[in-house]
Symmetry: C2
């Protein structure tokens, strides 16, 4: 179940952050977007309801939400980052090298590998970073 804008707002006030109109607007866009969005794309959408907002504020709000673990950030090789609502389920990303589209997938099945690596290296493994890079259906068709 996706976190609501209300829930996120309450975390903010609880942590001592002020609940400004700008922050509400950014949160609303993030909550109502299904896709990963770049700061610029988010800015565009926020401006529809809040034309006076600055790109800087969008950056700052995203950074804050990210620090609080409310949204997650994906790096797209060299280009801009993208943000999306923090999902309730453990999942990973699949990035299109051409258009930057990000798809999600679950069930990474890394437990067995993780156990082997742990045994071989003596590391106590606490997490993993897994991302696939490729070309999405649309870009394949276009080519």
């Amino acid at each position: 179940m996706r976190p609501s804008a209300r829930k996120i707002a309450s975390v903010l006030t609880q942590k001592g952050y002020k609940l400004t109109a700008q922050r509400r607007a950014v949160i609303d866009v993030v909550v109502n977007s299904r896709q990963h969005l770049s700061p610029a794309a988010l800015y565009e959408r926020v401006r529809r309801t809040h034309p006076a907002i600055g790109l800087v504020t969008v950056y700052r709000t995203l950074e804050m939400l990210y620090e609080l673990g409310l949204i997650c950030r994906v790096h797209r090789g060299g280009k801009s980052r993208s943000y999306t609502l923090a999902p309730s389920v453990h999942h990973h990303h699949l990035v299109c090298a051409q258009c930057g589209t990000v798809a999600d997938f679950t069930r990474c099945d890394l437990e067995v590998l993780q156990q082997r690596i742990s045994r071989e290296t003596g590391f106590k493994i606490e997490g993993h970073l897994l991302q696939f890079l490729g070309h999405c259906r649309d870009c394949q068709t276009r080519a």
Copy 2:
């Protein structure tokens, strides 16, 4: 076995690229470095033996070597890229969250997962990024 500077140079001439002093210098640094280096770090090192070289040339040479598959490029979230000699074996990293030690491991066994993801999403998968994060043996003992 690591490719030699001579081998790389011969690929260049074979492909019709000119073998300039600057390119030789960049290749030498890459071949003699064990770690991944950012363009800036590489530039610093190349300048020791070739003070007049421009950063642009370093970028251009790295791009060229990358296009030829002679070196590989790693994206480090948000920051600069880094380059290293194309390794003979496919491998991944295991990073200690405490001391920063990096261990390598091979056999990531992601083919099955990769096929499933490809089938489910329609993406043509070309590569993956896998990294484990944990605590190394030494840091566990110390704690």
